[in-house]
């Protein structure tokens, strides 16, 4: 599927590992979205920047499409291989290049794992704030490509807010250096544009992250509620109080039960909704914050309230949340993790609509929710071996995204579009808006060699898909022929 002449020249490049045998290629057939698997014709692991540049320029010259892969933990198929393209793994770019403690910065290669950064600077009293649940494995380059979030976004922001510099190789091999020394420079904010660009605009070869002082004190509060409505109300009340928690997470009954069965975190089994609220700050401040938030939670109808101050008991409370996905995974052979964001005031309506769809499809769903910032992760339970269940799960998932859109939300909060949500892009965006995305892509990568077919659908694809959907009472893309 890749020209033989190309492969021959590739084999002659220095400082690369090249994988061509089927058994080893299988390792790379999918990212975290395992339902989509394509065995790539070849995988290359460049050892250094020069070798990577040589691979890129060969692909550019021979017009061979490329997919860039970090740790392969992405959940939307952004790193799913192409049958006719080269998969380039940046796994060997795993060095921390420089730690500048007085400047609160670290310069790292893209293959360094998210957690490794915080571990490397812990002794200096610093940390890197964004912490996606996969932080033990996911790479910082992938975090930038997906603009990853995590449980601490409410206070500390997304990857975008915590990265101050990038070096990016464009498809033609040019180096784009977005300097971290200036907070302002003449020109467009390309640093923001590259975040969440899903490997479509360039290859990230170096990342400079901002570091923060580790807070002196941290406390986690856990509150159980009789209903998700009451818990959602409590979230609003905490924020209205003027406190900005480091993390504010919600779980519904099924997720609570599953987590408790799995890790025995000490969650209240009789609760219909659970809130975990992490507060951090200076030693002098923390007690005041804890008191204010505790009384807000009680005033909002919390049926139980517990607190954890030391690291071990905090970790125990968080463990149930962080293990929620595998915990729910024990309830059924397969689960499908969704990732919509909604304005929080619509939470009760959205959960009711999801419950209704759950009955309709005959599939159970557990809800885990970054409640502070409105990011919902419904986990649809299914059995891939049961006739038609995968199809039903996918249809259910698509319905959930439509429900999020209907409530003024978005189809993806932090997992990205990739291949998974590409059809829903046609619902969220008009042809004019998609045209802007295509124009941006063409400005960076005119030949369309980087990750083609991902993240932004073609108008033809939308016409095919859009025939099924009517948005705001109007048919989308009326200018295109339909089937």
């Amino acid at each position: 599927m890749i020209p033989k002449a190309f492969l021959k020249r590739l084999r002659n490049l220095p400082d690369i590992d090249l994988i061509e045998d089927l058994s080893r290629l299988k390792v790379y057939e999918s990212d975290g979205l395992t339902a989509l698997a394509v065995v790539p014709p070849a995988v290359v692991l460049p050892h250094n920047r020069i070798a990577l540049e040589a691979v890129l320029s060969l692909c550019h010259e021979q017009l061979v499409p490329m997919v860039i892969r970090g740790a392969g933990t992405g959940l939307s198929g952004g790193a799913t291989p192409l049958a006719n393209g080269l998969l380039i793994s940046l796994a060997k770019f795993n060095r921390i290049l420089e730690i500048d403690a007085s400047g609160f910065k670290a310069r790292v290669e893209p293959g360094v794992t998210n957690l490794a950064i915080s571990q490397a600077v812990e002794g200096l009293g610093l940390f890197y704030a964004p912490d996606p649940s996969s932080q033990i494995a996911c790479s910082i380059g992938g975090n930038v490509a997906e603009n990853s979030g995590g449980v601490h976004c409410l206070k500390y922001g997304l990857t975008l807010h915590n990265v101050c510099g990038l070096k990016v190789l464009l498809a033609d091999g040019r180096l784009l250096h977005l300097d971290d020394d200036q907070l302002w420079s003449d020109g467009f904010d390309l640093l923001a544009l590259l975040h969440g660009s899903e490997g479509m605009l360039g290859v990230i070869v170096e990342v400079t992250v901002n570091l923060l002082p580790i807070p002196d004190a941290v406390t986690v509060l856990m509150a159980g509620f009789d209903s998700t409505e009451a818990a959602a109300h409590a979230v609003s009340a905490v924020i209205a109080e003027g406190v900005l928690p480091a993390g504010l997470e919600m779980m519904d009954r099924l997720a609570i039960q599953a987590a408790e069965d799995f890790v025995a975190a000490g969650y209240p089994r009789d609760a219909d909704a659970l809130l975990l609220c992490e507060l951090d700050g200076a030693l002098d401040d923390i007690e005041g914050m804890v008191n204010r938030v505790s009384s807000v939670l009680q005033g909002s109808g919390a049926k139980s309230l517990a607190r954890a101050d030391d690291a071990a008991s905090r970790a125990r409370l968080w463990q149930g949340r962080k293990a929620a996905f595998p915990a729910v995974g024990r309830l059924a052979p397969d689960y499908y993790c969704m990732d919509g964001t909604i304005p929080r005031r619509h939470l009760a309506n959205v959960l009711a609509a999801i419950a209704e769809r759950s009955t309709h499809y005959g599939l159970r769903v557990a809800n885990v929710f970054h409640a502070g910032d409105g990011n919902l992760h419904p986990l649809i339970l299914y059995d891939v071996n049961a006739e038609g269940e995968l199809k039903r799960a996918e249809a259910f998932g698509a319905d959930i995204l439509q429900i999020c859109l209907a409530h003024g939300g978005t189809i993806t909060g932090e997992h990205g579009v990739g291949l998974e949500k590409i059809d829903q892009m046609c619902v969220q965006f008009s042809e004019v808006e998609l045209g802007v995305f295509h124009a941006i892509k063409a400005a960076f990568d005119p030949q369309g060699l980087l990750n083609p077919g991902k993240a932004v659908p073609t108008l033809n694809r939308c016409a095919e898909f859009g025939a099924m959907h009517v948005h705001h009472g109007q048919t989308r893309h009326p200018e295109l022929p339909r089937f």
Binding site: S102, G103, F104, G157, L158, L160, L176, H177, L178, D181, Q182, L183, W184, S185, D186, G187, F188, D189, L190, A192, L193, H195, S197, L201, S236, I239, A240, G242, V243, G281, D284, D285, G288, T341, I342, P343, R344, R345, D373, G374, N375, G408, G409, T410, T412, G413, E414, H415, V417, K421, Q428, V432, E433, V436, F437, I440, A443, F444, A455, V456
Partner: protein, 342 residues
Amino acid sequence: MDDMRSIVQQIEAAGTEGAQVCPQGGGSKAFLRSSEDARIVSTSAHTGTLHYYPDELVIRVRAGTRLTDLQEEVAHQGQFLPFDPPHLGVESTVGGVVAAGLGGSARPFWGGIRDYVLGVKVVLPTGQVAVFGGDVMKNVAGYDVSRLMVGSMGSLGLILELALKVLPEPEATRVFTLPMSPADAIRTIQLHRGRPGLSAAVFFKNVLYLRFSGTHQQLAQAENRLAGAINTDSDEVIRKIQNLDFPVQHHLWRWDASQAEPIECSELIAFDWGGRLRWLDSHLAPSIATSSGVLTCFKPGQGELPARSMRTDTVGWIQERLKFALDPQSRFISYPSFRVST
């Protein structure tokens, strides 16, 4: 008031008549434009808050809303705009603030405008209306066009609406006044970096002003560390520097450099952002600033202007390609030439 229809009509008419469009809010930052014969399309009648949910920390406003009105509205709910932009005129609008993308004194500590923009509605150079981002904190569908609009200087489209993230206001503010040399000021700032609550570090006329905004406990800690320094709850001097409210003889230059870059020179009027933003008053390009960082002739004064140009690195190259991709017929003004070659 909703003035969208008229704005779109003006842009369409300009397209038909072959006139180039220059979006404008209150016009307080008109000096940032390179002089061009463009037709002004004003957003100043497109005003008002569309919705504001304090407990979701999100407000959506029309772009012509005055910055002062927006700040007043969120202050009523005990909230604020953490990017706290410069006020370069009372008529300054939210759309203009975002299009110019200028950060206030809190920029290094609380982030810039781009860190708080959640969504935009824009009129593209084609006259078509498009919506990007949304009203939610987490949103990774499509490229981040909302943030691309921040600081694009009206060259990629006209901003109609903005969704912004707001935060709870700090409990209190204190400003410490420390007379010293510029070099000592840089060393002092370095000592306080990363301290909770530090929200501005500005130097003017041989005085360093350190502003702390936070909880009463944080301010008490700052007071202990800075025992003996005069302190007040007014940040008037900091705001004067942030708002460029100081006399300039010649041209006003901005030099964006790393904090470590030496700072002593006769042209220096003030510095902000803990030393990373330096304001210089000079007729010619100040020689000290030619060694590193980015030097721009920011606000021209009287007399001959130095030759200014676009940047010519890969960033400049991509920028030109982006502008061409989104506005192939140059219906909107180009990004201004700021840079003075060094």
